[in-house]
């Protein structure tokens, strides 16, 4: 708890407390959780789907699904891990339902910082994003969670519902495929 300059009191409540309140139907507690975690949810959806509009829909649906499914969340994993699981599954379902022709997505990264070097950097990142989007969904999810979100193998195994060995295998294939595509 802090007293700020103007006298307001800020109380930092941990996720577990908020989750319990939300499980009891407290939508305000859930709103705090959404504010805390929406960035990672959207980021994963964007990297998995490549399209900001689709990522927005997937994020919204995942967060609503999280709210509806709160009673099923036992707290064995972190709330963030559980949320990753919901959004990744949503994205994998969307990818599975996509027709192959839709795989060619326009890739855009907003320009930030120095325009001179940034332009080249942006081009390289765009190529990287395109290579990630070309990976099969299974590999893509493992790669996004490990290399972009920084999850441990154990956490990824929980998110994807597979063994740690399977995570390592997917990751190995994903990295090799990425190296191949970017080198080509």
């Amino acid at each position: 708890m802090w007293l700020t300059a103007c006298g307001a009191v800020i109380v930092i409540v941990d996720d577990a407390h908020l989750v319990r309140a939300a499980q009891a139907g407290d939508a305000d507690a859930f709103e705090v959780l959404v504010r805390r975690h929406q960035e990672r949810v959207f980021r994963v959806a964007l990297r998995m789907l490549g399209d900001p509009v689709e990522a927005q829909d997937a994020s919204q649906d995942a967060l609503i699904q999280a709210w509806l499914g709160l009673p099923g969340f036992g707290g064995r994993s972190a709330f963030s891990t559980w949320l990753y699981r919901i959004v990744v599954n949503r994205c994998l379902n969307l990818l599975a339902a996509r027709r192959p022709a839709c795989e060619l997505l326009e890739v855009s990264l907003a320009a930030v910082g120095e325009p001179a070097e940034e332009a080249e950097m942006r081009e390289r990142l765009a190529a990287l994003v395109a290579a990630i989007l070309a990976l099969p969904g299974e590999q893509r999810s493992a790669l996004v969670l490990r290399e972009l979100e920084g999850l441990s193998y154990e956490e990824i195994a929980t998110v994807l519902g597979v063994s740690v060995a399977a995570v390592k295998a997917r990751l190995h294939r994903a990295r090799a495929e990425l190296a191949r595509r970017v080198r080509a």
Partner: protein, 200 residues
């Protein structure tokens, strides 16, 4: 273009895939002695390190969440309590099932009628009203509070008859079916005429 799973080897015979994992994990070379003296390996590692620097840059790239996400989520969840049975089902199935129930209290218990039931009752009834060509898509929406119901109907009308008169017929029929079949009080029926269609 090589097929996925093809273990590409460098000129020195070392597998590129092994080097990829080494760079991605920041691990020590499995074959340090060879790598220290091998220009093929060193060149490949340098190239992979550039690639992985890009991966890290992408990871650090700030993503701005559209403001609509929070708004939309909170708008849609208020009024829908969490349910143990909701996970795993497609949202399209869950959200309508989470809709509210109208309640009729009697001396011997409470009757609850899901608003979806009221939607179905009203839609079927309205479709039979002369002058209504179709009750479109989500033609009927209801809002329930206790035993009181608000209804909103969207219709396509046949060209010709007076629209206010048609709306009144729709209003009467929708209210009657819900009051008679579900025993609820209809406090209002808004009618929207979406389009008028010429009948040949």
């Amino acid at each position: 273009m090589t097929a996925a799973g093809d273990d590409r080897r460098l000129a020195c015979g070392v597998s590129l895939e092994r080097l990829v994992d080494q760079v991605a994990e920041g691990a020590a070379p499995a074959d340090g002695e060879h790598q220290a003296g091998c220009e093929h390996c060193q060149a490949a590692v340098r190239e992979l390190e550039r690639l992985w620097a890009d991966v890290r840059a992408l990871a650090d790239h700030r993503v701005v969440v559209p403001e609509r996400v929070l708004e939309e989520v909170m708008h849609r969840i208020r009024g829908h309590r969490p349910s143990a049975r909701a996970t795993g089902l497609p949202l399209e199935t869950v959200v309508p099932r989470m809709l509210r129930h109208a309640q009729l209290r009697t001396t011997r218990g409470v009757t609850r009628v899901a608003d979806l039931v009221l939607v179905d009752l009203a839609r079927v009834a309205v479709a039979g009203v002369p002058g209504v060509v179709a009750a479109r898509g989500r033609a009927v929406e209801v809002e329930v509070e206790g035993h009181r119901v608000w209804v909103r109907v969207r219709v396509l009308a046949a060209y010709g008859p007076s629209l206010p008169a048609l709306a009144e017929r729709v209003r009467r029929v929708a209210a009657a079916i819900i009051e008679r079949n579900a025993g609820l009080e209809v406090v209002g029926v808004d009618v929207v005429v979406d389009d008028v269609i010429a009948n040949d």
